[in-house]
């Protein structure tokens, strides 16, 4: 059966150029980037080059890029590291109910175990937090505000430029988890007043297991793990040279293709949104209709369960998700959808379709043909369920 992959928010296939470059590193560059001799220097040069590529893609300087093991670690480093480095009187953390678990659970952990004063802000029906609400939540003890750029489940974009401006005015560190948007959208730290930005290679056709944190020059950040002192002590541990090389090239390619890719994907996304709304009765679009990631079409189908939707679609040849891949297998409705104010029975029937570079109009046609009867079948079967 031909497989149609429509879960690019979970992960993207590695670009062949990226894979090729990484393989060369694995086979030809045996050195440790911290070693003084030639092998080490060769590895160090590759890491430096990748750091330049990442910096160039987001308008930063290379010294502001810290490589990590991925988005989760970047989020942890940003939030924990900034709070830890902050002055003692600054113990406040402000974030939003629709953040990824990497942020939300980190925040809750800090509130529970590190006496951090946590404020979690609500969102409107399309998933947006208001800049005013953020401004109102900041007090003179607030250390960090963390608001994601684009939501991983519903694609809604947050007004991070406005929020960043408020944070800057109030002297508060502003972190943004931009794991879903870097590579897909123009993200320039010269335009957006943000101090800490998390990004993740495998969301833009790079390898899994490598990410980065942008740390604006002057931002106080303490390390959260101890060891050999790599990454100027901010993220210690031997550099994942092949992964870092892959990240750099992947982000360079993504930046080069962004304009054409974004337009292509947004058109397919809109075809999916319009087609699903037209052909699946009572389909609910989740997230903002236009102010959303160019590749994200997410819905709720009352009378279905996300888990069944995913299995039925998989058996029909489609890879899609019912929300975050990180919580797949969990039948609890997504915290993001509940934060929008959706009732549990509606939030349970969620489906996230995220297109990618290789997605075609024919793929969308196939999805739009397959989905309505699947939803109808599931609703019929659920209607008699115990």
């Amino acid at each position: 059966m031909r497989r149609i992959y429509l879960d690019h928010a979970a992960t993207t296939p590695v670009d062949p150029l990226v894979a090729e470059a990484m393989l060369r590193v694995l086979t030809d560059v045996p050195g440790n980037a911290s070693s003084i001799y030639a092998e080490g220097q060769a590895a160090r040069a590759l890491v430096d080059r990748a750091r330049e590529q990442v910096a160039a893609a987001i308008g930063a300087t290379p010294a502001e890029i810290v490589f990590t093991s991925g988005g989760t670690e970047a989020d942890n480093l940003a939030i924990r590291g900034a709070l830890k480095a902050g002055r003692d009187s600054r113990d406040g953390l402000v974030t939003v109910a629709t953040e990824h678990h990497a942020v939300l659970d980190t925040a809750r952990d800090l509130a529970e175990h590190a006496h951090v004063r946590l404020r979690v802000l609500g969102v409107d029906a399309v998933g947006r937090v208001s800049a005013e609400a953020v401004a109102a939540a900041i007090d003179d003890r607030t250390s960090v505000v963390s608001v994601m750029h684009a939501n991983n489940e519903i694609g809604t974009l947050q007004p991070i430029a406005e929020i960043g401006a408020i944070c800057r005015e109030r002297g508060v560190n502003f972190h943004s988890d931009a794991v879903q948007s870097v590579g897909a959208l123009d993200f320039d730290v010269r335009q957006i007043p943000v101090d800490l930005v998390s990004l993740n290679a495998h969301k833009f056709y790079g390898p899994k297991g490598v990410g980065a944190l942008y740390v604006r020059r002057g931002t106080r950040l303490a390390t959260i793990q101890t060891g050999g002192g790599q990454e100027k002590g901010r993220r210690t541990g031997t550099e994942n040279v092949a992964g870092i090389v892959g990240l750099g090239i992947a982000l360079r390619i993504a930046a080069e293709r962004r304009v054409t890719e974004g337009g292509h994907q947004a058109r397919l996304r809109d075809r999916i949104i319009d087609g699903v709304i037209a052909h699946v009765p009572d389909a609910v679009l989740t997230g903002h209709r236009t102010d959303r990631l160019p590749n994200n079409a997410s819905f709720c189908f009352p009378g279905t369960q996300g888990e069944s939707l995913i299995v039925a679609l998989d058996l029909a040849g489609f890879a899609a998700s019912s929300g975050s891949a990180c919580t797949s297998g969990d039948t609890e409705p997504s915290h993001v959808l509940l934060a929008l104010g959706l009732e549990r029975h509606i939030a349970q029937g969620s489906l996230r379709i995220t297109v990618g570079r290789a997605t075609t109009d024919a793929d969308v046609d196939a999805l739009l043909a397959a989905l309505p009867p699947i939803v109808a079948r599931l609703r019929e079967a659920s209607a008699v369920s115990v």
Binding site: V311, A312, T331, L378, A381, S382
Partner: protein, 359 residues
Amino acid sequence: MSEQVFVAMSGGVDSSVAAALLLERGEDVVGVWMRLTPGGVDTDAPRCCGTDQAGEDARRAAAKLGIPFYALDYADVFGRQVVDRFVDSYASGETPNPCVSCNHYVKFDALLRDVVGKFGGTRLATGHYARVADAPDGTRRLLRARDGAKDQSYALYMLGQRELRRIEFPIGELVNKSQTREIAARFDLATATKAESMDICFVADDYRDLVRSRAPHAFDSGPVERVDGSVVGQHAGIGGLTVGQRSGTGVATGERLYVLRLEPERSAAVVGTREEITRTTYELRDVRFTSDAPPSATFETSAVLRYRGTPLAAAVDVIPDGALLRLAAPALVAPGQAVVFYQGDDVLGGGIVRAGSLS
């Protein structure tokens, strides 16, 4: 959509071999595993097929076989239909039968309906030791497993034609355990066996702790009485007692006394001698027939009163809302237990012993 057979995989060797046999037959096989935690299930219950550890075992088996695999969540229905029923049963003085409930409400109802209704599967296979065969009249019959020592048909008596038309028990055809091992070895499957069915699989330790936490009133102490009403002792709660078990009372008189009846309304346990507690007639509720109808209003049968019990000669009278079981010789079966009607290897049906009937 192609004709797909879904196999309920527990992580144990039996269901893995069931999947392997279907693959060998050239079937398009899909593995499913039922997550049952939470929902009253101990996450570390070692014999439970619904814990995450069991799910990992099932996933590994599916990967060995190279079949698609899905972990599906049935914690809610399991919690309501198996665990809650189990607790309610003990709290009301009955003896529950969780395997019967699980087969009845979870595997062959909720899962089967999802497989067919939601996922477009044509059939559901499980690793039960039993057989399903086509009868000349076009119906499907439920039969004992070829290997009588492993037979699990007792816990499947509630299946009717609607279910039997969709069900397969591939390992029910195997003649002995060495055949299972041989197939497992051929497919490089782990041969660790799950504990046999009929265990209280979802609690790690003492089931009474579960009953006590859910239904504390079942552990109010109360009188132990003889049939004539004379009080011979006290008990620590009917939730810890089972009809038919030896009673600690009566030691003074030198008699062997057994629990005859539990009366939850007044927290009383009635005990009696072996002769006093056995009967020939029992009333059954929730009576089901595999052919969807009784063979006749009254029929002769071999009745099995417990899992792997000896078949006993009996007659069954179908009555409104149930059936009367008339045994040729007195025997004891606790309220809440299943009585299954056999004719040779054929399972005709069965029912649940009604509490407080015909005492």
